[in-house]
């Protein structure tokens, strides 16, 4: 009845446990023919690519089918460099000249971190010198000599704020817009809103640190109340990139092909009496897609295809930078191949394995900055030289910043700070060489043009051509939004 070729792609079942549009998708149930979604879906505009089969049988809709944005996007993709643990803004990009010379002095300053709320503390003077770089003259500390050479392409937001100074909830906030667990992550929203261009690769990729995932693990790239198809796929930068991508050891390509051909015979026979059920044909098609992914994904991660000068650019020739460098280079390769949202973690596990410098700030930040500076600069330069930077939005930052004062009686460790911190963006229709917002003289809190995480998220969606206030998903009786029920505007000052 239905032409298989016409539907071709991966398709999904009708019964979204959440409910994309309440009029129909509100918990539909498992009947496969119940997917008369299209007419209703087109209500949302970006569902216009949904397939309507002929002869009134409604076909499966691949959740990752490319969808039209709400308006012409400036960015095609996002690379989010996540500095897990919380980098210190006043030691990196937020220059606080008045703090120098105050080391050890106790000052009145309100702070809130894992150690609770305090009204005074001992200043830990920024441990590195700052210099101005580029034509834009932006300030960068000695921790980032390579990124410093890219500042003319970067916009700093030095007045970021978040709702929580605790890792658990702050990670969820930065990744999913809310301190409560169970929301879809930013990448899931992008996948949901735009689908994926390359069906042979996941639309949303996450690369983790060698030391382990961030706290809360998979929650950071989960799809929450949306289908699992929208969640991030963990990609390894060495070996087999995706779980279960490689056939078992003793099965060669030819044998597997033979297996798939026989499987096709059985499944086609089964389908013959059930042609109206497009879920069956979707599953048949998926075996072919999976087969293709087995070759396309390894090709994507085959860094040997890159010339030496490129490898060097990312620091692959140095032990310190090779790990993060591989991930950055891989991010570019995936971006080239149509992966829409790529998140790269610097830091994993707990304490000094990430940017969480509670004890020895110098040790911690020299380690993580040194590991990432060259690769990040390499990524920016490489994207630029390929003409990709304009349409690739690069984001740098952690779940919060750090306090100007010491956490303990002794030492240089700083506690968490969600009242003011720095993030930066580059490319993807973001203005270059500027800096917006300010923290106070100590960097303890945002005082001028404070921006919330939701503004950052709104900006990301906006650059991708999605309206953050109309990109909604019906769940739990509410039209849910990434940016919260009250909505949020993108940060206009930084948009070209």
């Amino acid at each position: 009845m239905t032409d298989l070729k016409k539907r071709g792609n991966i398709k999904i079942g009708p019964d979204y446990c959440g409910r994309t549009r309440r009029e129909f998708l509100h918990t539909l149930g498992g009947g496969f023919t119940s997917l008369a979604l299209t007419g209703l879906l087109s209500w949302d505009g970006f569902f216009s690519n949904q397939a309507v089969a002929d002869n009134s049988v409604i076909s499966y809709t691949n959740p990752l089918t490319p969808k039209d944005p709400h308006f012409t996007p400036k960015a095609k993709r996002v690379i989010f460099l996540f500095m897990y643990g919380g980098p210190s803004h006043i030691d990196t990009f937020d220059y606080k000249p008045k703090m120098y010379g105050l080391d050890g002095k106790t000052v009145k300053v309100k702070t809130s971190g894992r150690g609770g709320e305090k009204n005074e503390g001992r200043i830990v003077e920024p441990k590195w010198k700052f210099k101005q770089y580029g034509e834009s003259g932006q300030w960068v500390s000695d921790l980032f000599p390579h990124i410093a050479t890219c500042v003319d392409d970067i916009t700093f937001i030095k007045s970021m704020t978040a709702d929580s100074p605790r890792h658990g909830s702050a990670m969820l906030m930065m990744n999913s817009g809310h301190v409560l667990s169970g929301r879809p992550s930013l990448g899931s929203w992008v996948n949901y809103g735009l689908g994926s261009v390359n069906q042979n690769l996941p639309g949303y990729v996450v690369m983790l640190d060698e030391t382990g995932g961030p706290i809360s693990g998979a929650k950071n790239w989960a799809s929450g109340y949306m289908p699992a198809a929208y969640q991030g796929t963990v990609f390894k930068s060495a070996g087999t990139p995706i779980w279960d991508l490689k056939p078992v050891d003793n099965m060669n390509h030819k044998q597997q092909r033979h297996l798939l051909d026989t499987l096709y015979k059985f499944n086609s026979g089964h389908l013959a009496d059930r042609v109206d059920n497009s879920a069956l044909s979707a599953r048949i098609a998926n075996y072919e897609l999976a087969f293709k992914m087995q070759s396309t994904a390894p090709e994507a991660v085959d860094l040997d295809q890159e010339p030496d000068y490129i490898k060097k650019l990312y620091g692959l020739d140095q032990e310190r930078t090779v790990n993060f460098g591989r991930k950055c280079l891989l991010a570019r390769r995936l971006a080239e191949r149509g992966v829409r949202f790529i998140q790269v973690y610097s830091g994993g596990h707990h304490s000094d394995s990430n940017w969480d410098a509670h004890g020895d700030l110098v040790f911690n930040h020299e380690r993580h900055c040194g590991n990432t500076d060259k690769p990040i600069a390499g990524l920016l330069k490489d994207l630029k030289q390929r003409g990709m930077l304009d349409e690739t939005l690069v984001i740098w930052g952690g779940e919060f910043g750090r306090q100007p004062t010491a956490e303990y009686a002794e030492g240089t460790g700083r506690d968490h700070n969600a009242l003011g911190f720095t993030m930066w963006m580059a490319g993807g229709g973001i203005r270059s060489g500027i800096s917006i917002g300010e923290t106070d003289e100590l960097g303890s809190a945002a005082v001028e043009d404070p921006f919330h995480v939701k503004h950052l998220h709104a900006t990301v969606l906006h650059q991708l051509g999605l309206n953050p206030n109309t990109l909604t998903y019906f769940h739990g009786g509410l039209d849910q939004k990434l940016v919260g029920p009250e909505g949020a505007k993108p940060i206009r000052q930084i948009i070209t």
Partner: protein, 998 residues
């Protein structure tokens, strides 16, 4: 936090509760179908009477005939048995079961099959999982630590068991909402209240106040959606935009749950039976006795060794002056109400000498319910009047020279003193002491002559630096308002703080001596005291409820979480004390229940540490084989004792459950903001349901607690509630047919989908309630209908008219759920363990999956194979680590209620089913099973394998395809028959027909 276990008063007289009231204002809104009482609908007319097996068919056929549609042909018997197996137990039938059913000519065969499946304990495994989806079941809290919800699995077992024993649904609801407040409370009903503890919980929220309402919102929205089909997600901040539910309704409904204690790491309730507790107690006692026996031997050995080294001791600089000589002790065990008069008539447990010649509690081999009698001689330097001072927790009595000098017989003890005239010389002295079961022991004794008042000489190895408020209230500076952060510093100005007498707290807190009421969330205390020397060992007498921090001279010396129910002694590693003026500063916080804070400081005089002595006299010891043997024995005893103290006797009769904290007033929070408190509200059901639903008059008086959740439970579980039965029968229907009569099965409101067959819904609801809310009989009724027994065959005409099958003109095919897929694979490979219940299991996960955790090496456990191969409902549900095969095939999101699962088809699923370790391991065992049980001939082996996955006889064509596949592999790829059959097994597990159900 703890509230006294008072009798659970039940104020409910249901007859009193059912008073119908109406307010005309909302009549129009209340006319919406879902709020109308369930009526018994008339059976509609149908033409094709022959098709009707039961009234379900009448309702369905009536609509089909109206739409000019014909019902699909009946399903074949082999389709039907597979459908029934999956729908009732979530597993495939065995080939022989299929054969015998297909060949069974008994007209009752199908009915008997259903009875057998409904009786299977695997039924609860399948249907319990549907309920677990609804109540966002998970076994960890999420967030940074993703801490374990200990004993959450008991709730899972409760649910499975409830389905298996066909617990009436109204009782099922009652137990989960108010199992701790019922007339009859059992361990089972307590476990049921774990319902309230299954959600996410951040143990360090950025905003504690908001977090409390997030928790309550989770309960309100889950209860509303799951049990009532009402969605209240938006009403937390503003009136519902579509349904007649106001923000006042929301907070009034929330008020039913506002007395629940907050989440914590130890919100566990003891559900042990008397014999379980006794058995545990016996084990604990045995362990304790063994330890005490060793401790007594150790003390004696110490004294012996001290005696042996006595000559050297006298030269030790840290040896203490003492006025006592020839001191002996007798040690007693008992529980007394007051100091016994007649120690001499009691039997001591141990006796011996005290070489240090100080009154000391060191001979006590345990800390509770002890008695000690000391006898010796007191060196009186001159004829004079002497005063003796005693400060003890527990009673004490002192005789000198045959005269009773002072006594305090009360169990709680305290400070007492007495004077006596004594002649110079060595006079007999006797001290008696006891403490009760509840207290930690403390004994301090000193004396002074009349001439040197104030010059104390210690007779005990401990003395008080700063008394606590047990016997005499101590004066403190205090404040309830957050002070500046230097409040604990020595030079902090506390002059504008209040002055009050300790202890501070509320009178209903156990084990306290409240003299100043503190009932706010936090208190800060300060006090100054003087010292003329710095004692070596310092400890605190402390009672706190809840978290406390103690600072001495600005330095934090202790930081304890949670609460105590009596005083404790806490040794301090560093005291921060100094000569002259000292400042102690304390702060204590409160989240719910009782509250209390009191602190005192005591000192232990340095007693020459025996290990130090032995070190110093190493040569002397080594020179004497006898002494060396004693030292070796001493060390061995100490090691044995330390070993015996290690490890706890496990007690597992605990449940994740709720308790009430008392009566909380609830307020409307404007825009959902806890800082914008509006009008107070009383517990009340949503107003729109008051006309049609039974109106419950709430017999609530101020401060009357432990009844609110019972009321809401009784209201929901009431047969007249229009929502409860409708919502549940719709869910049962949904899991048989793929979707509900109301497809948005968690939302019966206007934002939900409207029922396709309202009368059928009502008929089912009415049947359900009439059958005592028995779910199994509802299954049977549904499955006996012709509607259920139709095939899934398409019909072109019907597809045009009703492509969504809203009218149920055929059966809906479905993909198996994540659990069904994994369980079926295990079942076919022959590896499935059907064991029920108990703690969750950890199937092996690939390292790359573990690497996504922040603690790759600690995040997951390891179960032996037979445990790892249990049904999927028993796999540990961890919020931060998802089991790939379950996650990929659309298991429920664990952070909010999930009424309908997604059913996605994505290529990564195919990768997992082709290349995954689990599937390949199972394929190898499946292949082994085929080779062992499927005969020797390839064709019979293939038939055997296909029959297992397809639950039917394979066609000749299918056998040929598979045979050619295996043969070709062997021929052209030169692989062994074993490996070729492994491949065939893998192929079979990937068949669409295996994963889909007709």
């Amino acid at each position: 936090m703890r509230i006294r276990k008072s009798q659970i008063a039940v104020f409910l007289t249901i007859s009193l509760l059912l008073i119908c009231l109406a307010t005309p204002m909302l009549w129009a809104e209340a006319a919406y179908w879902a709020y109308q009482p369930v009526t018994v609908p008339d059976l509609p007319p149908v033409k094709n009477q022959e098709w009707i097996k039961n009234p379900i068919d009448t309702f369905i056929l009536n609509r089909l005939e109206e739409g000019g549609l014909l019902p699909a042909t009946p399903a074949t018997k082999s389709t039907l048995i597979r459908r029934a197996y999956y729908d009732l137990i979530g597993l495939p039938p065995l080939p022989q079961e299929v054969t015998s059913f297909v060949n069974d000519a008994d007209p009752m065969a199908y009915s008997k099959l259903l009875d057998r499946l409904l009786d299977s304990e695997q039924y609860g495994v399948k249907w319990g999982r549907h309920w677990l989806d609804l109540v966002r079941y998970a076994e960890t809290n999420g967030y940074e630590r993703d801490g374990d919800k200990a004993y959450a699995w008991r709730y899972r077992d409760y649910v499975i068991d409830a389905f298996n024993k066909d617990k009436p649904y109204d009782q099922f609801i009652r137990e989960q909402l108010a199992g701790d407040l019922l007339d009859e409370i059992t361990p089972e009903t307590i476990v049921a209240t774990g319902y309230y503890r299954l959600g996410i919980w951040d143990d360090e929220p950025a905003d504690r106040q908001l977090a409390r309402y997030d928790y309550l919102d989770d309960i309100v929205s889950t209860t509303g959606q799951v049990m009532l089909g009402i969605s209240m997600g938006c009403v937390r901040c503003h009136d519902h935009k579509a349904d007649p539910i106001s923000i006042k309704d929301y907070y009034s409904f929330l008020a039913f749950f506002n007395d629940i204690t907050p989440h914590s790491n130890d919100s566990l309730v003891d559900i042990g039976t008397i014999s379980q507790k006794q058995e545990y107690q016996i084990k604990v006692n045995q362990k304790k006795m063994a330890g005490e026996k060793l401790q007594d031997q150790i003390f004696k050995m110490e004294e012996v060794l001290r005696t042996q080294l006595r000559g050297s001791i006298s030269q030790m600089s840290d040896r203490l002056d003492t006025d006592l000589v020839d001191l002996t002790y007798r040690f007693y065990r008992d529980t007394w109400d007051q100091l016994p008069n007649n120690f001499d008539q009691l039997r001591q447990e141990a006796e011996g000498q005290i070489v240090s010649n100080q009154f000391t509690l060191r001979p006590a081999s345990r800390t509770k319910a002890i008695g000690l009698v000391f006898e010796g001689k007191l060196h009186v330097p001159a004829n004079d009047d002497y005063t003796f001072y005693i400060n003890s927790i527990g009673g004490s009595r002192l005789w000198v020279d045959g005269q009773k000098v002072t006594e305090l017989v009360q169990a709680k003890g305290g400070f007492h003193q007495g004077s006596v005239t004594l002649m110079a010389g060595y006079l007999p002295v006797r001290l008696e002491y006891f403490n009760q079961d509840e207290d930690f022991p403390s004994l301090q004794v000193y004396w002074s002559s009349s001439g040197e008042k104030g010059e104390r000489r210690y007779l005990s190895d401990a003395f008080t630096i700063l008394p606590d408020s047990r016997s005499t209230g101590q004066s403190w500076f205090y404040t309830f308002e957050l002070p500046t952060e230097d409040w604990m510093k020595v030079d902090f100005d506390d002059s504008n703080w209040e002055t009050g007498v300790g202890g501070f707290g509320t009178h209903d807190t156990p084990g306290t001596f409240v003299r100043t009421v503190w009932n706010t969330p936090k208190i800060w205390l300060r006090k100054t005291f003087k010292l003329d020397h710095i004692p070596a060992q310092v400890g605190l007498h402390l009672h706190h409820d809840e978290d406390v921090q103690v600072f001495i001279n600005g330095k934090r010396v202790t930081n304890r979480r949670g609460y105590l129910t009596s005083y404790r002694t806490v040794d301090l590693k560093e005291s921060a004390l100094k000569i002259g003026e000292n400042v102690i500063a304390v702060n204590c916080m409160q989240t719910g229940g009782g509250q209390y804070i009191d602190v005192g400081i005591f000192a232990n005089l340095m007693v020459a540490d025996l290990d130090e002595l032995l070190k110093k006299h190493k040569r002397q010891v080594e020179a004497s084989p006898d002494l060396q043997a004693q030292v070796d024995l001493y060390r061995k005893l100490k090691k044995d004792r330390d070993d015996s103290r290690k490890g706890k006797i496990p007690y597992s009769h605990m449940a994740l459950a709720v308790e009430d904290i008392g009566s909380s007033q609830t307020y409307i929070l404007r825009r959902g903001n806890p800082r914008l408190q509006g009008n107070p509200v009383e517990p009340e059901i949503p107003s729109v349901l008051r006309y049609s639903a039974p109106r419950l008059k709430l017999p609530l008086e101020k401060n009357q607690n432990k009844v609110k959740r019972r009321i809401v439970a009784e209201w929901i579980a009431n047969s007249e509630n229009p929502m409860t039965a409708r919502v549940m029968v719709n869910r049962i229907w949904q899991h048989h047919f793929g979707y509900g009569i109301v497809k948005s099965s968690n939302d019966f409101g206007k934002l939900g989908t409207q029922p396709t067959h309202l009368k059928l819904l009502d008929w089912l609801a009415h049947e359900f309630v009439n059958n005592q809310w028995r779910i199994k009989s509802l299954h049977k009724t549904i499955m006996m209908s012709n509607t259920y027994q139709m095939s899934a065959e398409a019909n072109e005409a019907a597809l045009v008219v009703d492509p969504l099958n809203n009218l149920f003109w055929r059966f809906n095919m479905r993909r198996l759920t994540a659990e069904e897929i994994r369980d079926s694979v295990l079942s076919v490979s022959g590896n499935l363990s059907r064991k029920l219940g108990g703690p969750s299991v950890f199937p092996e996960l690939p390292e790359e999956v573990l690497a996504t955790s922040s603690q790759p090496t600690r995040v997951w456990g390891k179960s032996p194979p037979e445990e790892a191969n249990r049904r999927s409902v028993y796999i540990k549900v961890k919020r931060s680590l998802l089991v790939p095969i379950l996650n990929q095939f659309d298991m429920a999101n664990t952070d909010s209620t999930c009424a309908v699962r997604f059913m996605t088809m994505v290529p990564t699923q195919s990768l997992t089913m082709l290349n995954g370790k689990f599937i390949n391991q199972q394929a190898v065992t499946f292949s082994e099973r085929i080779r062992q049980r499927g005969g020797t001939d390839l064709s019979t082996q293939i038939q055997f394998g296909l029959r297992l996955v397809l639950s039917r006889q394979p066609s000749t064509e299918e056998i040929t395809w598979a045979t050619e596949f295996v043969e070709k592999l062997m021929k052209t790829e030169q692989i062994s028959k074993k490996v070729a059959l492994d491949r065939f097994a893998l192929l079979a597990l990937n068949l669409n027909e295996f994963i889909f159900l007709d």
